[in-house]
């Protein structure tokens, strides 16, 4: 027993994720490390992978955290190293200048946990991100790692494991929200061996990085989740499918697998309990459609990554026609916590139909961007205005796009919508993998729909007719509308073809591809009509349907717009008024963005006749 309480050892954490590394965090890490080692101070230091923006604070990196006081410094420079070492490592001082400035309150806060951004979050899947060194299995073990595995191997039967997961109500975080426990149960029931466990780490949504963060920052949580499933269904082989561009995720995952093998968590006779299981990494080629479960399995088998007709489910006939459980990275990361803390606890978080939390990547026109993990059932308003800090430049919120490329746009009337699987689907959007893009008044919803369809047209595998040809024609019509060639009846035709895709396409890509179009028509039909009938793009985005002019009443003659215009199309006299030469204007909108008086307006092409 210790006779006296020793001063707690300080731990310095330096973020070395992709974002912070780009800001020279490696030099800060090396500098602090050198100082600590040379001085023999009672402190330890480790690099952590706080993958891009995981606290939404990435744009304020590099980030240095000092435990146990939870001091959170951001925007650290190499020149700050000495001061941090002297004052905060050797002593208990706080350097106010480096503390995080909370945009919602205007105050500096000591710990990132005190920020508005953080307070409403609840970390389960991201519990270890930024807290541990992903290369250290001991770090993971220290935070209850592999305890759930030990628990199931020593005290639970496979059936009890399945019951616990089923009772927890955990639903797949990869998109469709299928109940995970039910999937495991169905697979366990099939009396065919071998069986396989697969982790979907394809993450094809552009701009999404939740799964990457977990694989980079906490790879063992995924491995442990898969181990628990393998025990429950009786599988001996697992695969983690990671897209090839994810270099750091591939590296960290491979290292974690190796460590786990060395410690006897993977391989033969795991923890001396007679269980055999090992995991291989498969590198994905990168097509968006490869994230679809049947395409992914085809790809693992070495065939072309195209979806196949799925009337017999993968739990019966999946990989190499053998019973297979396939879950998403984030789903896997939730599993060990549920086993450790119980289904009851998990159900107490989130909403009735969607227990637990969900990780979102909050991006677009919000002040704080980045990865957030929130309890299900939280409203969109809380996410965007409390956590996200609202819309920059006091612009008006217009819509939030959720669910990735084939998700939908949700308007401001639905800001109080609780975010869970079912309500998002009802609203005409979907959970998808958790993308969340905030749009303000300067966004054109027809152009948004066109943009996503363009992506899907390129990413559809092209195998089935409704998806390949349907997206192509819908895209053509949207291009027409944006270019002023929209016709009467286009909206109805888009709805009609969209409905056919939803029902007749082979896989989820084609079935959900019309969402961007259908949801924008549902909530912004008037904007479509303006484009088609009045040849007017209210947001001033579609160039053919935008004519900028300066409202002579509102103009104060500051001349900023004239300075900004890249073509010199604006002329006038200071303190009088300015005008735009329409023949020179390329409609880049810089003048409108610059004007503080809202004097730059768009009258569209509709008034061309009486001009």
């Amino acid at each position: 027993m210790l006779m006296f309480k020793r001063k707690p050892v300080k731990t310095v954490l330096v973020c070395c994720g992709t974002g912070c590394l780009a800001n020279n965090s490696r030099a800060i890490y090396e500098g602090l490390k050198k100082r600590i080692e040379e001085s023999g101070a009672r402190a330890s230091i480790r690099p952590v992978t706080k993958a891009t923006g995981c606290n939404g604070l990435c744009e304020r990196g590099p980030i240095v955290k000092i435990q146990p006081d939870d001091i959170f410094y951001c925007g650290v420079k190499a020149t700050d190293v000495d001061e941090i070492f002297e004052r905060s490592v050797l002593n208990d001082e706080i350097i106010t200048r480096l503390l995080y400035l909370d945009s919602s309150t205007g105050e500096r806060v000591k710990s990132h946990r005190d920020t508005e951004f953080y307070k409403r979050q609840h970390k389960i899947a991201l519990r270890n991100i930024g807290e541990i060194d992903p290369a250290s299995i001991d770090d993971y073990i220290e935070r209850d790692g592999y305890r759930a595995l030990e628990k199931v191997l020593t005290t639970m039967s496979p059936q009890e494991v399945i019951d616990e997961i089923e009772k927890s109500g955990l639903r797949g975080r990869g998109g469709a929200g299928f109940p995970t426990g039910v999937k495991w149960k169905q697979c366990a029931r099939v009396d065919v061996f071998p069986k396989y466990v697969v982790c979907n780490g394809d993450e094809g949504d552009p701009g999404a990085f939740m799964d990457r963060s977990i694989m980079e920052g906490d790879p063992h949580s995924v491995i442990e989740g898969m181990l628990i499933c393998a025990y429950a269904i009786g599988a001996e082989r697992g695969f983690i499918y990671i897209r090839d561009e994810y270099a750091l995720a591939l590296k960290n995952m491979a290292a974690a697998l190796e460590e786990a093998r060395k410690r006897g968590f993977l391989g033969r006779n795991i923890l001396q309990k007679g269980m055999n299981f090992d995991i291989e990494i498969v590198r994905g080629g990168g097509a968006f459609v490869c994230g679809e479960s049947t395409a992914l399995m085809a790809s693992i088998e070495g065939r072309v990554g195209e979806p196949r007709v799925k009337y017999i489910r993968s739990v019966e006939r999946g990989l190499w026609d053998k019973p297979t459980v396939l879950n998403n990275v984030e789903t896997w990361a939730n599993v060990p916590v549920i086993i450790n803390r119980g289904a009851q606890w998990f159900r107490s978080i989130g909403s009735e139909g969607s227990p637990g939390t969900k990780v979102f990547s909050l991006v677009g026109k919000v002040k704080n961007t980045g990865l957030i993990e929130v309890p299900m059932g939280i409203t969109l308003r809380e996410i965007i205005f409390s956590i996200g800090g609202g819309i920059p430049r006091d612009r008006e919120f217009k819509a939030v796009q959720t669910g990735g490329p084939s998700g939908g746009c949700i308007p401001k009337e639905l800001l109080d919508l609780p975010v869970d699987f079912d309500s998002l689907t009802e609203s005409g959007s979907m959970m998808g993998s958790g993308g969340m893009i905030v749009m303000d008044e300067t966004t054109c919803m027809v152009e948004v729909a066109r943009y996503y369809l363009q992506f899907l047209a390129e990413e559809s595998c092209g195998k089935c007719v409704p998806c390949r040809e349907g997206i192509k024609q819908m895209l053509g019509i949207l291009e027409d509308i944006c270019a002023g060639r929209g016709r009467e009846g286009d909206i109805e035709l888009l709805l009609d073809i969209g409905a056919t895709l939803q029902e007749a396409a082979l896989c989820g890509l084609g079935k959900t591809a019309p969402n961007p179009v259908l949801s924008t028509i549902r909530y912004f039909r008037e904007e479509y009509r303006e484009h088609i009938q009045n040849k007017y793009c209210p947001a001033g985005v579609c160039k053919e349907l935008t004519v900028f002019y300066i409202d002579q009443e509102a103009c104060r003659g500051c001349g900023l717009c004239a300075q900004k215009c890249p073509l010199g199309a604006i002329s006038g006299e200071r303190r009088r008024t300015y005008t735009i030469d329409e023949t020179k204007c390329i409609k880049c909108g810089q003048c409108r963005d610059t004007c503080r008086f809202g004097a730059v307006k768009n009258r569209g092409r509709r008034h061309d006749n009486n001009h």
């Binding site: 097509a287 029902e503 082979l506």
Partner: protein, 251 residues
Amino acid sequence: MIITIDGKQCEAQYGEYILDVARRNNIFIPTLCHSDALPGQGNCRLCIVEVLEGKRRRVVVSCSYPVKGEVEVLTNTEKIRKMRKNLIRLLAAAAPDSDFMRDLQREYGLEEEERFQVYRGEDCILCGLCVRACEEVGIYAISTVNRGITKKVSTPYAEPSAVCIGCGACARVCPTGSIKMKEENGRREIWGKTFALLPCPGCGKPFITREELAYVQAKTGLEPAEILCEKCRQKRAARKMRDVFKDVTMK
């Protein structure tokens, strides 16, 4: 077990595809990418039907949907007709130069397309049968390349294939005549490759490429003299048949 298709009771085996059950019972379901020899692709989606299972009503493709219970199937509801019409309209715009699609367009009462982008000069509907046929032969000379709206059927790098044996299985199975196979002066041209044709041991007409002959020999173990053209094969079969039945008819 018994399933109901458009009100008609049909006997079906567990696991049998709805399309097969329907055809056996003379219930017509249109298909494009289906051939009896190469079934179950599920690409064209024309064979969609509605399946009523308990309270659930959903749209499935009949060529790939296995019978697992005593379901009710509706092949021609208004919803299905509407979607089929859309599918044909989409395909007709994609392959307007195919007579096959033009006929279908007329059959479904569709007018000349005026809103969709029409891809003049195109007659391939990407049904995938040619690729399947080539795979079935075991050659793998052609495949679909690219994805999404730029997908097409091609030899690797669009160059004459090194492995193609010029058998023409792809051209024969193509429903729109999109694969061009030319035969002239004892030569066959396909996929940018020209093959010399060898004569039929029966009638002397050129009919097979050297490469295909070698392939058939290897596969069947037949001697070259036994490998005949289609016509001679039929004649020989008929002759054999006559021999067998001769005694019977004489009685």
